[in-house]
């Protein structure tokens, strides 16, 4: 018995929606980061699901996924470092207060 492709895609969609909701609504910068990671992983899951049902013979998608995961790790490290730097500067991690990019 095998799980059809649709289920994977629905899971991926739910994960992405959860991540998006988190990124759009939460005020804490760290939570926003976590939400972005969730969306990332939704994307990767999508990728792997498509690979599994369409292009099983080649390993390109797997390599892509591994790349994406490692880059996401690096990205979150950089993101956290930025959040720490912002915290040191503003004494806060509230994204609503960070308005210095205003035009």
């Amino acid at each position: 018995m095998s799980i059809p492709l649709g289920h994977y895609l629905i899971l991926s969609g739910i994960l992405f929606a959860i991540g998006l909701c988190g990124a759009l609504t939460r005020k804490n910068a760290i939570i926003v980061l976590i939400a972005i990671e969730v969306m990332f992983n939704a994307g990767i899951l999508n990728l792997i699901a498509f690979w599994h049902y369409k292009q099983f013979a080649v390993l390109t998608a797997q390599m892509f996924a591994i790349f994406a995961i490692s880059i996401a790790a690096a990205e979150s490290a950089v993101g956290l470092a930025l959040v720490i730097a912002i915290y040191r500067h503003y004494r806060s991690v509230d994204v609503e207060e960070m308005k210095s990019l205003k035009g």
Binding site: L20, V32, V95, E96, M98, K99, S100, L101, K102, G103
Partner: protein, 726 residues
């Protein structure tokens, strides 16, 4: 057989003379091609001198004298080359060599030529100008020795010599006119050489403007000639302007003048200005404000003679179409000359300035030359020009010596007794005076006699007047000699007053030739040497036009085709000698027998002549007359034109300006303010507003951006599905 031989031998003789003539013409041609060198050397010198520093006095004088010596050499060589013509017996043609070249091309086949000429007239004049000029240059090194602008002086003098020599050798009216104006310019510069004197700067302007009035006529003449003949070359192997004179005489000109006569009269206006003929003579006496060598060179020997020379050069135009040896143009010229001769001579009697006497005498003598030319006597006019140049230059240089010797005194009343102090100057001055007075055997006698003779044959009245002028000439020259050289030294009176002052001044001065004592002194050698040379010429030059050696050499040399009238020689000569002697006698009786005792004594003539003498002294009030008429008229015209300018022209202009302002104001309000500014401002405001509106989107909240992004993505997604499933 014998006859045949004889024929052959005559044929051989003819052939040999023919070959000789051909060789001679080739030689002349070669000389003509070198004529340009004559003005070139002084021109080059002037160019170099203009770059010299003020301290390089010796270089400047050396250059001027060196360059003019070279010119003099070339001119004398050309002169020598033209002599000895006349193989063809009594009435041979004048030998004339020319060298023309194209100077400037314009259009398809138009061109302006330049050219140089070598004929007896030019050769004699060039030799005279270069030689007299050289003598005057040498004299000027002494006269100007203490002037601080010595270098500039010689630069101008060299430029003048170049222009004058260029004028003499020109075979083209354009070149002639350029040089003609250049000598005028140099005259202007040199009269005003001491421009810090107000009188000198006024005199320079007067000279320039007065001669310019004549030059307008001259220029019109040149233009008319060009219009009629299409060439400005004087001689050009049959195509030259002067060679077409007879053709021009057939064309009607204006009033009594034929076309040739009209051109001639227009050209003569130029000569009236340059040669100081009445009524344009007024500038010449004032020109005496310049340094004395300038007066000698420019205003006695050369430039003022340029007018006479020009008439001589253009003589074919004057004589073209002559009826009985006379044309209206010639008559006009003769009467102008005659009147000037008498008129100026009377003024000279009443003058006290040593140089002004000579200036009026120059006017008078130029009148003689013009009169001779007007009577058809080209030879007589040109000969008087040459001799006069020598003895008048001599007199001016003598006057310059007197002025230097008496420490810059020009008033004859404050001189006297200089015979003892300046013997060399006195001797030379006497020679000049006797020559000018027409005492045989000095040069002036012969030339003046020729002038009187040709006039005698044309008009007895003119001859009578000219003879009277000769009497006046002898009289005023004797008066001058008596006042300056005889009697006792009267200059001391003035000096005694300032004696103390002077002594104080001179104590500290290094003094070369005894300024310390107030007595006059003899001049240095470099000043009297040229004067002495000139006086030799003033004695011997006359013999070239006498029947004594070879039957009037000068006549055969300059114009062999000119017919010399017969008869009357004795009458004219005897009368001329008689009036000369009478003039000297009267002069001696009035001024010499009982010389003036004090400088402030009135002139012995003042009492018997009364108002007439004042009239003479004030130069017949000609200056005042011009002041009252022409200058006043010009001023009135000026005021009138200013009024017209202010009322009419300015009125029109102001109306136009006002209208323009109104129209522009209208456009300012309607167009600019309303449309342009309004539109522009609105556009700007809307841009600013929309910018402000849009800038609200960029509020710096990253989450906001993200929200917008998400909504956008969602919208795109919906659109995608809608398109996928319609």
């Amino acid at each position: 057989m014998k006859r045949l031989n004889a024929q052959r031998s005559t044929l051989n003789v003819r052939r040999s003379t023919f070959n000789e003539l051909k060789e001679r013409m080739e030689h002349l041609q070669q000389l003509a091609r070198q004529q340009w060198l004559i003005p070139f050397f002084p021109l080059l010198a002037a160019a170099i001198q203009s770059l010299l520093k003020r301290e390089q006095r010796k270089v400047s004088a050396g250059l001027a004298i060196g360059a003019l010596s070279l010119s003099c050499f070339v001119a004398l060589r050309a002169f020598w080359g033209t002599m000895g013509g006349g193989h063809g017996g009594e009435h041979h043609e004048v030998e004339r060599a020319i060298w023309n070249f194209t100077w400037l091309k314009y259009g398809d086949n138009g061109s302006l030529d330049m050219g140089f000429i070598l004929d007896p007239l030019t050769a004699g004049m060039a030799a005279m100008v270069a030689f007299v000029g050289l003598m005057i240059f040498i004299n000027a090194t002494g006269y100007m020795a203490e002037d601080e602008n010595f270098t500039r002086f010689f630069c101008f003098m060299s430029l003048f010599a170049a222009a004058m020599l260029g004028l003499v050798v020109a075979n083209n009216l354009l070149l002639f006119f350029i040089c003609w104006e250049l000598v005028g310019l140099c005259s202007y510069l040199l009269i005003g050489f001491w421009h810090f004197k107000p009188s000198a700067s006024a005199a320079m302007k007067k000279a320039f403007i007065t001669t310019r009035i004549g030059d307008i006529g001259f220029f019109l003449g040149v233009l008319t000639l060009y219009w009629q003949t299409g060439t400005l070359n004087l001689y050009d192997h049959g195509r030259g302007a002067l060679e077409q004179a007879d053709k021009l005489a057939q064309i009607g000109g204006w009033w009594i003048f034929s076309m040739a006569g009209l051109i001639a009269v227009l050209l003569f206006f130029g000569a009236m200005g340059k040669s100081a003929q009445f009524p344009l003579h007024v500038w010449l006496p004032d020109a005496m404000e310049g340094p004395t060598p300038v007066s000698a060179l420019i205003h006695a020997a050369t430039m003022v003679a340029a007018g006479v020379f020009m008439v001589g050069r253009m003589f074919p135009l004057f004589t073209a179409g002559a009826v009985g040896g006379s044309t209206p143009a010639l008559d006009f010229m003769m009467w102008i000359g005659c009147f000037t001769a008498v008129f100026s001579a009377t003024i000279a009697v009443g003058q006290f300035d040593i140089k002004r006497v000579l200036a009026y005498s120059t006017c008078s003598q130029l009148g003689y030359m013009v009169m001779a030319l007007g009577a058809g006597g080209l030879v007589a006019g040109q000969f008087h020009l040459l001799t006069h140049a020598f003895f008048k230059a001599l007199l001016f240089l003598g006057a310059g010596s007197v002025i230097i010797g008496t420490h810059h005194e020009q008033d004859m009343r404050k001189m006297g007794g200089l015979r003892k102090y300046m013997p060399i100057t006195f001797a030379c001055y006497m020679v000049g005076m006797l020559a000018l007075s027409g005492v045989p055997p000095f040069a002036g006698f012969f030339s003046k006699d020729e002038v009187l003779l040709v006039t005698y044959h044309r008009s007895k009245l003119a001859w009578g007047l000219a003879t009277f002028a000769a009497f006046l000439t002898a009289f005023y020259m004797t008066r001058q000699i008596c006042m300056v050289f005889f009697g006792k030294w009267r200059g001391g009176e003035r000096e005694q007053e300032h004696e103390k002052e002077h002594e104080e001044k001179h104590e500290h001065e290094e003094d070369g030739h005894g300024h310390g004592d107030h007595e006059p002194h003899e001049i240095p050698w470099n000043m009297w040497m040229p004067i002495a040379v000139l006086s030799v010429f003033a004695v011997v030059l006359g013999f070239f036009a006498t029947p004594f050696i070879g039957g009037n050499l000068f006549h055969r040399y300059v114009a062999p085709e000119e017919h010399m009238p017969e008869g009357g020689t004795g009458t004219v000569m005897v009368l001329s000698i008689a009036v000369g002697a009478l003039g000297i006698l009267f002069g001696y009786l009035i001024y010499g027998r009982k010389p003036m005792e004090h400088a402030d004594e009135p002139d012995p003539l003042a009492k018997p002549l009364g108002g007439l003498f004042t009239c003479l002294n004030r130069k017949w009030y000609i200056d005042e007359l011009y002041e009252a008429t022409i200058i006043r008229l010009t001023m009135a015209c000026g005021v009138l034109f200013r009024l017209i300018d202010e009322l009419v022209i300015d009125g029109i202009l102001h109306t136009i300006v006002w209208l323009t302002k109104v129209i522009s104001q209208f456009f300012h309000w309607v167009g600019d303010e309303f449309f342009i500014n309004g539109g522009f401002d609105t556009a700007c405001e809307s841009v600013r507003d929309s910018g402000g509106l849009l800038s609200r989107l960029q509020n710096g909240r990253v989450q906001n951006y993200f929200r917008v992004l998400s909504i956008g993505a969602a919208v795109l997604l919906v659109l995608y599905f809608l398109k996928l499933n319609p």
